[in-house]
Amino acid sequence: MAGYTELTKESVLWMYETMVTIRRFEEQARREADAGKLRGIHSSIGQEAVPTGICALLRDDDYVLGTHRSHHHCIAKGVNLKEMMAELLGKATGTNKGKGGTMHIADIRKGMLGANGVVGSNIPVATGVALSAKVRGTDQVSVVFFGDGASSQGSLHESMNLASIWKLPVLFVCENNRYAESTPFEYSVAGGSVANRAAGYAMPGVVVDGQSALEMFEVAKEAIARARAGEGPTLIEAQTYRYMGHMGADDPLGYRTQEEEDYYEGRDCIKRMEEHLLDSGLATESDLKAIDEKALAAIAEATKFADESPFPDPSELTTDVYVSYP
């Protein structure tokens, strides 16, 4: 449970550690995939700051909903690393008992209401989660992440309209990493801006540097305050970049330039946070090293746990289809 309200040493260090953990997790997940233990992952390396800056502000009872590319959302929301890694390997000890896998990790205890493999599909669901909070009279918020590609789905527009007329406590967060598979954002999004669409639905639309956890934090803080106060939804377009291929196997240089990659990697969210921590005296080099080692140790432990866990019992094939079925 993060639940920070201000940028303090504690919250900033939490963000740094979270981003490092995500990156280390994804590096290991890629190794697992390369070893054939799972078919592949949609790596979130490069995009760590987006959910981190937002989730720093969220409580366990706030909700996050994700996409096919959601390991970073899960980790930022506090999902257990061991159970996540076990899920990737399809093990019985996984968050989803091995039934969901990389595109569907969920942990309701932590308010992670699931990744979702259908592009755009979780946006209405998140809107309903916000509705639930409103009807139950809580001040919980619901945050849904989706890609630039997903912004073309009608579900976003239906949901923005619904959330706006009902003043629902939801944040629509577009992780604009410039590509949907190989399709550039400039080609697929008319007008070249997702945030601009908000105006048509009478809600704020904000563009933010998604490679800066600090900026994400500030923007999210305002949106969350609005949501908790019953003032309705916000659309946030976080400009970010995925460093790897879409799902691993593809070579991104088939559809984007080295210059572009260099530009974004030069603005890497972890590097910039390191500079901030060191410059501001919030941490020393050895503090940072310790954090990285802690992350590596946690990932190693998670990997061991996953490896040693059993596969689901064959009977699990047909359980959990229903809560009850005579």
Binding site: Y63, L65, G94, T95, N96, K97, G98, K99, G100, H104, A106, D107, I108, L113, G114, N116, V118, S121, I123, P124, V125, A126, T127, G128, V129, A130, L131, S132, A133, V135, R136, S142, G154, S155, E158, S159, N161, L162, I165, W166, T319, D320, V321, Y322, V323, S324, Y325, P326
Partner: protein, 342 residues
């Protein structure tokens, strides 16, 4: 409606309305969403201007307010998805999908999310969503507004599907569906709405178990399997068959998923002949499914091939005389029954 001594007669519409009202009183987490289910948007002067396409929700907003009775924009994918999300986080939403043909517009939320979340999340999240939808032809509404397609929902693991046939069972099945922890789709046949039934509808709340068929009429010579509107057709055919000297048993399925296989098999083991009457398109239909079931599991009991009565492999035409040829009729059922009885 005339109240026979000791019999509380309600229309199908009234029974649904009563079930909704009782469940909403019982459980404050029950909410309803849909187009014009109250009507008038949020204008206080025009509250309850509509009450749903079939007036199933008429009057509820007065008792439960706009927070729980929610008119939606025309955005089925948006509000069906909202139902899924609300169901996963503490509410028991009922979503009105006006006509089942609009499944096309919000299929993703029903078929990819509602049906799969519980499984994909390892059983750790429930989706107690109830979907109510209008089905069936016979109203001069043409191909898009006259479908039945309950077989499609039945096809998908993770969904439950109920097909009430009269005011008594629709009231009990609504209560059961709303209290159920799985997503349940209730198919309300539009031709049943205005019909008079001689069944008693108790005033208080009660449930009818999902997954249990009802022997709507006992008989020994042939089994007629009906569901929703076709149960009515089967009962009429049974009466006519009686006049011809045959005793027909009518199995009213009530639930399609789970389906009460045993009730069907038991009846067939007794009568040794079966006619399945289904208003849905014929290919991959409930009728096919039941025929396959009895062929596989009661093969040695069958005196004649299982017989399916469906519309032909065609769409629902607008023209009324043509449309009348689409929906299975009493005459077709009688003829089919006579055929399997030689």
């Amino acid at each position: 409606m005339v109240q026979t001594q000791g019999v509380r007669q309600l229309s199908y519409i009234q029974a649904v309305n009563e079930a909704l009202r009782l469940e909403m009183r019982r459980d404050s987490t029950v909410i309803i969403m849909g187009e014009d289910i109250a009507g008038g948007g949020e204008r206080d002067d025009f509250q309850d201007a509509w009450g749903g396409p079939m007036r199933l929700t008429k009057g509820l907003v007065g008792e439960f307010g706009r927070e729980r009775i929610r008119d939606t924009p025309i955005a089925e994918s948006g509000f069906m998805g909202a139902g899924v999300g609300a169901a996963a986080t503490g509410l028991r939403p009922i979503v009105d999908l006006m006509y089942v043909g609009f499944l096309g517009v919000c299929g993703d939320q029903i078929l990819n999310n509602a049906s799969k979340i519980h499984y994909m999340f390892g059983g750790k999240v429930n989706v107690p969503l109830t979907i109510m939808t209008g089905t069936g032809a016979g109203t001069n509404s043409a191909a898009q507004h006259s479908e039945t397609v309950y077989s499609v929902f039945t096809h998908y693991p993770g969904l439950k599907v109920v097909v009430p046939s009269n005011p008594y069972n629709v009231k009990g099945l609504y209560a059961a569906a709303i209290r159920d922890d799985d997503p349940v789709i209730i198919c309300n046949n539009r031709q049943l709405m205005g019909v008079r039934f001689d069944v008693d509808v108790p005033e208080g709340d009660y449930t009818i178990p999902i997954g249990k068929a009802d022997i709507a009429r006992e008989g020994t010579d042939v089994t007629l399997v009906g569901m929703s509107y076709t149960t009515r057709v089967c009962l009429q055919a049974a009466q006519e068959l009686e006049a011809l000297g045959y005793s027909a048993e009518v199995v009213d399925l009530l639930s399609l998923s789970p389906m009460d296989d045993e009730a069907i098999l038991e009846s067939v083991r007794k009568t040794r002949k079966i006619v399945i009457v289904d208003e849905d398109y014929p290919r991959c239909s409930i009728a096919s499914d039941v025929a396959a079931l009895v062929a596989e599991q009661a093969f040695d009991y069958l005196d004649a091939p299982p017989k399916r009565v469906n519309p032909p492999h065609t769409l629902v035409p607008y023209s009324m005389p043509l449309e009348a040829l689409f929906v299975p009729t009493k005459e077709q059922v009688v003829a089919a029954a006579l055929e399997v009885m030689q």
